[in-house]
């Protein structure tokens, strides 16, 4: 990897140029409670010091909450076409666990068959990550996802008077040479970087004990009492899934215009926490209770992909914890699994 530094004064210049030259998406204060990743036209709107994790994860840029997969026109012939728009965009200011979330989706949507609607956008997306102190609910350290090894073009770390820049791709390097004044990172910079990372890692308040989770999870899986307790307050509202940077479930539906000539196949975010998710013909539901569903979600987050990809899909960003009004907490529940099996 290439390591560089950029001075704070030059940083502003750099980002402002990107904002004027590209479709630039970054964190903006939305209201008293949250930030959102939206298009930015003016440097002053950018606010990288967001405290919460921002409700809608950046996945929405690549995998929008509703999108048209294909379009068709019925006449003499039936014409079918894809319609996804794909523009060069810069996604700025997502933190390490979100970068890891994106990497997960990259892998997921390319596993086996490639999801073109996703990748047509991904290929044109430049990701500039930035380190920030963990929020209250962030436990990415426990999940091994507090640091992004790849999946970005540039990754910035704030070293007070300058940014330490990890250059993750040729594209990222190109941007730097075209738009920024940088210098190669030296010993001093690395020292400060290490100091920052140590403090950063020490700042995680929420921890999840994932040791032996892979096996323990199977052990508690059929323990109805355990799940009853865990899921007691769950509304089956699905918020946890929709805010998750690595949740990918969707529904597909056909929508015909009233003229009955043109139609779309649309996909929209779905959640395994809502009852319909497992419903099939004959009104049989494979996951009829909220307990079934919650443990399904946990399985998907903290087990399934350990099998499939060798690493869990949960990046520990803590969004689901913030979003859950029933105060269901995945990190604490991971700890409960451990406790249940240890006692």
């Amino acid at each position: 990897m290439l390591y560089k530094v950029i001075k704070k004064v030059d940083y502003k210049e750099f980002v402002s140029k990107l904002i004027s030259d590209f479709e630039f998406i970054g964190p903006v204060k939305k209201d008293i409670a949250t930030h959102d990743f939206v298009r930015i036209n003016d440097f002053s709107k950018l606010d990288i010091n967001y405290k919460r994790t921002t409700i809608a994860p950046a996945k929405k840029i690549l995998f929008p909450s509703t999108e048209v997969l294909i379009q068709y026109e019925i006449g003499e012939d039936i014409k079918i076409s894809s319609v996804y728009e794909a523009k060069e965009k810069i996604l700025f200011g997502i933190d390490a666990c979100d970068v890891n979330g994106l990497s997960f989706l990259d892998r997921f949507f390319s596993e086996d068959l490639i999801d073109e609607p996703y990748f047509s956008r991904r290929r044109k997306l430049t990701v500039i990550g930035i380190d920030r102190m963990p929020s209250k609910t962030n436990f990415s350290l426990s999940m091994g996802k507090e640091y992004a090894k790849d999946g970005f073009d540039l990754f910035l770390t704030d070293l007070k008077d300058r940014y330490f820049v990890r250059v993750g791709s040729e594209k990222g390097n190109g941007l730097l040479s075209k738009y920024a004044i940088t210098s190669a990172a030296g010993d001093e910079d690395f020292k400060d970087y290490n100091k920052f990372m140590d403090t950063y890692r020490k700042s995680f308040k929420l921890k999840a004990d994932v040791a032996n989770l892979y096996d323990n999870f199977e052990q508690v899986y059929d323990d109805a009492q355990f799940w009853k307790k865990i899921a007691k307050d769950c509304y089956s509202c699905g918020s946890c899934c929709l805010v998750c940077p690595t949740c990918f479930c969707f529904n597909v539906k056909d929508d015909m215009e009233l003229n009955l000539k043109k139609g779309n196949k649309i996909r929209e975010w779905d959640s395994c926490m809502i009852p319909e998710y497992g419903l099939v013909a004959g009104s049989h539901n494979f996951r009829p209770t909220k307990e079934n569903r919650l443990k399904q979600r946990y399985r998907c987050k903290i087990k399934t992909f350990a099998d499939r990809f060798g690493s869990n899909s949960c990046v520990g960003c803590g969004r689901c914890i913030e979003a859950c009004l029933a105060k269901i907490n995945i990190a604490e529940d991971i700890n409960s699994v451990k406790k249940e099996v240890s006692v």
Partner: protein, 249 residues
């Protein structure tokens, strides 16, 4: 079903649902080509007693309403309840909470005998309802979706998940985070999370999802320093006929 004959009828309500149909603007002309509107008091003079689909707005609040509804029910093959008043009784049910006789007395005094008013009920209390376009008012998209589905021959997809899903799809800040309360957790989505999007808690004008976790709602309320009564007040607004409070123990 090709070009079905459709009647649009109003019982006791505010006319907003019928207006929502007139508000289709971009789609109104397509709609008129796709279906044959044979009855629509609010918009057209011609009327006919020959229709396949009846869209009913408003709740049953007089004997006259009940008679008309039963008459329509005998003719129409498909009955669609449009709007909270027709689906759940809607805001009209507040009258029941107050008491029909008492309400007559309060408003009409000694002339109350002139008034034909009975306990408010949703239309399903009198006729079999096939589909519900819920909400106060329902969204035009949903009304159109139901009609479209019937034309192309599919079951209309009415969400049975809570409003939170739509909030999250839209990227809304949860109104609990704005320091207000919201019924969205147990209310049926399909409105496009209009209220939370406007910074106001959901008032459950589309009723609840099939299996709401109302007990959790109670627990949560305590966490947010609220009581069941607080939330029931809100819930009664559109669901006074449903007596959901009996579910909350």
């Amino acid at each position: 079903m090709s070009k079905p004959k459709v009647g649009i009828f109003g019982l006791t309500g505010c006319g907003g649902c019928q207006l929502e149909i007139l508000n289709l603007e971009d789609q109104l002309l397509d709609l008129i080509h796709a279906i044959d509107i044979v009855h629509f008091t609010e918009a057209i003079t011609e009327h006919s007693d020959n229709y396949d689909i009846a869209l009913i707005e408003g709740s049953v609040a007089t004997r006259h309403d009940a008679e008309r509804l039963e008459h329509i029910g005998k003719i129409a093959k498909i009955m669609i309840a449009v709007g909270a008043c027709a689906c759940t009784g809607g805001i009209n049910c507040l009258k029941n909470l107050y008491g029909v006789e008492k309400a007559k007395e309060l408003v009409y005094g000694d002339k109350k005998g002139w008034i034909d008013a009975i306990e408010t009920k949703p239309i399903e209390a009198y006729v079999k309802v096939d589909y519900y376009a819920r909400g106060c008012p329902p969204t035009r998209t949903e009304i159109v979706d139901i009609i479209k589905s019937l034309i192309v021959g599919k079951v209309p997809e009415i969400p049975n998940y809570p409003v939170c899903i739509e909030c999250k799809r839209l990227g809304n800040t949860c109104v609990y985070d704005l320091g207000k309360t919201c019924m969205g957790l147990i209310s049926r989505a399909g409105c496009g999370a209009r209220c939370p999007s406007a910074g106001v808690g959901c008032e459950a004008c589309r009723g609840t999802i099939d299996d709401p976790n109302v007990n959790a709602q109670k627990d949560i309320l305590v966490k947010y320093n609220l009581t069941v009564e607080d939330i029931m007040e809100g819930f009664n607004l559109y669901n006074g006929c449903k007596k959901i409070e009996q579910k909350i123990k």
